[in-house]
Amino acid sequence: MGNLRRRLTQVITAIITNGYLPGFIKGDIYRGNLKRFCVPGLNCYSCPGALGSCPIGSLQAVIGSAKYQISFYVLGTIALIGTLLGRLVCGWLCPFGLIQELIHKIPSKKFRISSKNPAKFAKYLILIIFVIILPMFVVNVVGMGDPFFCKYICPAGTLEAGIPLVLMNPSLRQAIGFIFSWKVFLLILTILASIFIARPFCRFVCPLGAIYGLFNPISFYKLEVNAERCIKCNKCTKSCPISIETYKTPNSPECIRCGECIGACPTKAISSSFGFKESERKFRQMEIE
């Protein structure tokens, strides 16, 4: 039931954030005022259906502009969402997360990679180098920097914006070159990896997930483990797509808060809550039951 609720939320969010249908018909993008606002997940603002702005694209746009060095607006938006939800966004609201999960359903041998694998730190490096340092310091004569993450890495942009726009727009089709081929190669790599590994982009590459992850230990939304109920059977770890030992670190920065562990726990020791007092009430209620 929880899984169905999450899938429905993912699908509805993907539809709402990409609900500009004329874009898909005309091969153009939405140009209205809603694009002042950032959506919570990684969703390219040049997707023909996109109604809002991608937080990582917006962050680079402001940092790379000639006028500003830092973006209070975008960082504040990301921090607000992170403080409230942490990586719940990744598990429930991100369209590119949904795409990876659907691809992972393709029948094949699945590989589990430990949540302690040092490759997880790659996303922090990508965040610092491609989203902050390069757009800030590698600038042209008028002081403007490129959005390096969008330009050289982001497979979400290639899938949601690059391919549809190039297919529908002859003038863009004529302009494609090496960078487009490189980005298609990265997209294919991401798709192939998603078949065998759960959420590879979110775990090793996504700079937005890296930021939200830092908020996981202190966000209002959190997971809690009742130590008295927990029998350390490790079923939470086995059910977790990221292989997190939930009973030890329920609010790990790697946790995408999909809630699989909550359903898998045989003693109902894991609980999620929003706020402080609510969790105490929830455990008391569980004890009464």
Partner: protein, 46 residues
């Protein structure tokens, strides 16, 4: 736990304040201008 709860509220207030500062600095306009034009870098052309 009290420290964590305090930090949570401080972050919430700081993030809202940061958004307001960003609005006053007219960063929103930069976001809007970038987002309403096809981002050639995102597409893989620019």
């Amino acid at each position: 736990m009290k420290v964590k709860e305090g930090l949570r509220w401080i972050l919430l207030i700081a993030s809202i304040a940061s958004i307001v500062i960003g609005i006053f600095r007219e960063e929103v306009l930069t976001v809007l201008v970038k987002a309403i034009n096809i981002c050639l870098e995102c597409v893989g052309i620019g």
